[in-house]
């Protein structure tokens, strides 16, 4: 009887594992993903962390030598239960976007930023003055497009600037940077630009993701595992930020930041399609049918199916972008974020 009880416990565990896998990869929105998403029209400065905004009051003159626009092109999530007895894995790619299109979107967002900046009444430096400065000559641009899969992060992000601007990053902007935190060249060059032109230097960064993923994590005792994907563009916290610098001398200066802290839902720009699934659901269903029946008792000599040693489901998805919808969504997101930035700029005017 001990053996029977043990066997039933194993069967029970197997079924739970299987059920978990069946739930996995579903398109149902996980509750925790929906809860933390702020609608774009409800976004406010409460969703940002502000650091040293008072730097904006140092001078009326502003130089904008770069603008960064990024898209999460690939994301994924895995989960397991029962110490790996059941596992689910999900990968999703954004398709239909190329670097030229991204640069065009960066151009539209940058144009909006400059239009708004000029409307604040500040002096926005022309490109002749910016590119003629010694600091500009010292800048080391990042290759464009810059594709980065941050360490211990399943996201792959592509970042571009408009085609007429260099793509610039500094070390503290990790993980979306190709510089070490000890590489101070660009920071010093921006300081040199600020000191020579007696201006603030600003670089906004706008990054969108195409789907929110959620999963049950890796469990040792629980048998179930699930992952979920909720399609829709959202502004990525931390990656979306607005940096500004001011220096009186080229060697060192001060900087401030507005950093997005919450995920902000922008809307849909395409369609999520499941493109592949590799799983043993059929095998598990066969086993579950067998153990739910009483065949194992009434037909002791039947050729019973083998009990699966694990339950797995590996799915792949594509978020297929409609270019027109993507452009509208990016412009909406840019307007909303830039509007907030201008509010901070207006609130920190030189005396």
């Amino acid at each position: 009887m001990d053996g029977f009880d043990l066997d039933r416990r194993k069967v029970l565990q197997g079924s739970l594992g299987a059920l978990g896998v069946l739930a996995g990869g579903s398109l149902a929105a996980p509750a925790q993903a929906a809860d933390t998403m702020v609608p774009l029209n409800a976004m406010s400065l409460k969703n940002y962390h502000q650091v040293m905004a008072k730097v904006l009051a140092r001078t009326d003159r502003i130089a904008v030598p770069s603008f960064r626009f990024g898209l999460v092109m690939r994301n994924g999530m895995g989960a397991s239960g029962g110490s790996g007895a059941s596992s689910v894995d999900l990968k999703a790619d954004m398709v239909g976007v190329d670097a030229a299109m991204m640069r065009q979107l960066a151009h539209l967002a940058f144009s909006d930023f400059i239009e708004r900046l000029r409307a604040t009444g500040r002096t926005v430096l022309g490109w002749n003055e910016i590119s003629g400065s010694e600091g500009y000559q010292k800048l080391e641009p990042t290759p464009d497009p810059f594709v980065k899969k941050p360490f211990a992060d399943s996201r792959t992000v592509a970042v571009v600037s408009p085609e007429y601007l260099p793509l610039l990053t500094i070390g503290p902007e990790a993980p979306l940077s190709d510089r070490s935190p000890f590489n101070l060249k660009n920071a010093r060059a921006l300081n040199a630009m600020s000191a020579a032109l007696k201006c603030l230097v600003m670089i906004p960064s706008l990054v969108l993701d195409f789907a929110a993923l959620a999963g049950s994590g890796h469990r040792v005792y629980g048998g179930a595992a699930n992952v979920g994907i909720q399609p829709g563009l959202f502004l990525v916290p931390l990656f979306t930020h607005f940096n500004f610098f001011h220096a009186k001398i080229a060697l060192a200066g001060e900087g401030g930041r507005l950093i997005l802290e919450d995920r902000v839902a922008v809307g849909q720009a395409g369609q999520l399609v499941q493109t592949g699934s590799y799983n043993n659901r059929a095998e598990i269903e066969e086993w579950n049918s067998y153990v739910r029946s009483n065949a194992w008792w009434t037909e002791p000599n039947m050729a019973a199916p083998d009990r699966p040693t694990s339950a797995y489901d590996y799915s792949s998805y594509q978020y297929r972008v409609d270019p027109g919808m993507l452009q509208a969504a990016v412009v909406d997101a840019a307007r909303a974020t830039h509007g907030l930035y201008m509010g901070v700029i207006n609130a920190n005017r030189p005396a």
């Binding site: 239909g96 065009q104 909006d112 926005v124 002749n128």
Partner: protein
């Protein structure tokens, strides 16, 4: 293998879509020398644009769109300001102000009607804005009564470039069409002094909403009445 082929096919299809997406020339808005700073527009404590009395009721050249022949009209009571970036004309038809202009290459017509009404006088503007979405029901019959069927109800957030020290204004928005297929996007701004009805007809709801969002501004006549 068939799955792989399907994926490849989809990727190619969408790759081609990406290549056929409209990409226009990118001109650096900073190109050239540093320009003189613009005069920052004045706004009141609620975010309404302060329109000087001398500019009201007139169609004036807009310095912000001087290179494209842009003009701007400010309402007589300072309720709104509307820009026609590529030039245009305005006329009064009874109480209805009509604007005719090319928006890009699309001939577009907009209408503005002031409806003085103190129904909301006891509410603060921020309260009206916060509960705006609940007002579609009471105002729907206005659109239907004008002979239009409602395709979509979606609020429009006015895009006050650079002046957003206060919360941006949100307007009720209806996309509609009549029996002749004429497509009109209607917006309504309720405030303590009344409702501003602003409608736009051009190509499609996306174009019409873009025009309203970019070029309509709410004046302090609506936000801080005398």
């Amino acid at each position: 293998m068939p799955t792989v082929r399907r994926n490849l096919g989809a990727a190619l299809t969408f790759g081609l879509l990406a290549l056929t997406a409209p990409v226009t020339a990118q001109n650096n808005p900073l190109a050239g020398d540093t320009q003189a700073p613009q005069t920052a527009a004045r706004i009141d404590a609620f975010g309404g644009l302060v329109i000087p009395p001398g500019e009201r009721g007139q169609l004036l050249a807009d310095p912000a769109y001087a290179d494209t022949g842009g003009v701007v009209f400010s309402d007589e009571l300072g309720w709104y300001r509307f820009t026609m970036a590529d030039g245009g004309t305005t006329s009064l038809d009874g109480t209805m102000r009509k604007f005719e202009f090319p928006a890009g290459t699309i001939p577009t017509t907009c209408f503005a009607v002031r409806v003085p009404d103190t129904s909301f006088a006891k509410f603060s503007l921020s309260q009206i804005q916060a509960e705006l979405e609940t007002l579609y029901g009471p105002f729907d019959p206005l659109i239907v009564g004008a002979g239009f069927s409602i395709d979509d109800r979606k609020s429009i957030v006015l895009d006050a470039a650079g002046q957003r020290a206060a919360a941006p204004f949100k307007l009720l928005g209806w996309d509609s069409r009549n029996a002749d297929g004429l497509r009109v996007t209607w917006t309504m701004m309720p405030s303590q002094v009344g409702q501003l009805l602003f409608a736009c007809s051009g190509a499609d709801p996306g174009h019409q909403r873009e025009v309203i969002q970019r070029y309509l501004r709410i004046g302090s006549g609506m936000t801080s009445p005398p």
